[in-house]
């Protein structure tokens, strides 16, 4: 249903043809253009299912099925859910009747004989309530969709962080196991030089040569790590443009 309430589909249910005609005339005078009707209450359920009216104007005293019976049928089918109000038409305006109709699922009452302004106001009020309710439902749907979208984004970012953590762990492992080997060689060799402790196997020239090789090895490893970090874009935000 849209904001223009005059387009709403109205179903009139009354066993008296004259009542239907009066209501149709009144509604036409107020520019309601989408009105259907039935004199047989037994057809209401199938009409509701096929025509999907926005509001039902329902008589209470009818043969075969009373207005209460019709509301019970609709309730059992889950059709009295707030999105299709029932406006009860009755000549019996007692409190007891009104109470029973409300319990049965009616939204409001119209007392016979009908008054043009009252008919228009009550119908428009009920339709406007339905319109607001459906707006609220739409808003909730939009909000739920936004929450779903944000949750998806968060999960994606979480995965990204996990991946980056794995890469950082890998670099930490390389630092611990690969970088430290040539570094440890350098430290050991330097101490031998400091102690002036050389041997035939490891003379001063050999020590200096090994220091040079270890330093080059270390340099190569550090360059590899830099390249690896660069390729994996580990320090960049993926969604940065």
């Amino acid at each position: 249903m849209n904001e223009n309430l005059l387009n709403a589909k109205i179903l009139i249910v009354d066993d008296q043809e004259s009542n239907i005609e009066v209501l149709e005339d009144l509604l036409a005078m107020r520019n309601f253009s989408n009105v259907i009707s039935t004199k047989d209450p037994r057809t209401v359920l199938s009409l509701v299912q096929t025509e999907k009216p926005d509001i039902i104007l329902l008589d209470l005293m009818m043969p075969y099925l009373s207005g209460f019976d019709v509301m019970n049928q609709l309730k059992n089918e889950g059709l009295l859910n707030g999105y299709m109000p029932v406006l009860v038409l009755t000549a019996d305006a007692t409190l007891e009747t009104k109470k029973n109709a409300l319990i049965a699922g009616a939204s409001d009452f119209l007392t016979k004989p009908f008054n043009l302004s009252e008919v228009e106001l009550r119908i428009k009020n009920l339709l406007y309530n339905v319109y607001l309710l459906s707006q609220l439902k739409d808003q909730n749907f939009i909000l739920e969709e936004k929450v779903k979208e944000r949750t998806k984004e968060l999960l994606h970012n979480n995965e990204l962080i996990k991946k980056q953590n794995e890469q950082l762990k890998e670099i930490a492992w390389i630092q611990s196991h690969v970088v430290r080997a040539p570094l440890a060689r350098l430290m050991g060799l330097v101490e031998l030089l400091q102690l002036n402790e050389t041997s035939d196997e490891l003379g001063k020239d050999e020590i200096v040569d090994f220091i040079s090789k270890s330093a080059e090895e270390l340099d190569g490893i550090i360059r590899d790590i830099t390249l690896k970090a660069h390729h994996s874009k580990i320090f960049e935000q993926e969604n940065e443009s």
Partner: protein, 132 residues
């Protein structure tokens, strides 16, 4: 040191360094070096005598057989000699240090390079007193 000293490392330079430092520190006059852990294992089997004591300075990360596998093999062989191990690794990985605590023959975990203070520390270690 009256016990045997075995140096096991797949890196030739570390073997030379450790040997030279061990001699210079008067830790052992004649350490035996192995570039491959299986060769050290063969030596242990060949020289297995009940009264013998052997200390092994063992690298962890080696191809073919790493330090952990080497120690597992020693435990399965139930050798007669008393064998103790000092793990020597360039790794400062806390997981390695934690893992080393599960091997009964490990008396110390030392980060490479083995320098003079490391040998001095081992000389003071209570578990190794009977080896000197």
């Amino acid at each position: 040191m009256k016990a045997n000293l075995l140096l096991v490392d797949d890196d030739q330079l570390f073997l030379m360094l450790n040997k030279q430092q061990a001699i210079f520190a008067n830790f052992h006059p004649n350490p035996i070096t192995f570039l491959k852990a299986p060769l050290a294992l063969e030596w242990l089997i060949e020289h297995d005598k009940k009264q013998d004591k052997t200390l092994i300075l063992l690298d962890i990360n080696m191809p073919d057989m790493n330090g952990w596998e080497f120690m597992d093999a020693i435990n399965k062989l139930s050798l007669h000699a008393e064998i103790l191990v000092v793990l020597v690794s360039s790794s400062t990985d806390p997981l390695d240090i934690e893992r080393s605590k599960h091997y009964k023959q490990v008396v110390a975990y030392i980060e490479k390079p083995m320098r003079q203070p490391a040998f001095a520390y081992l000389k003071e270690l209570e578990a190794l007193q009977s080896f000197f």
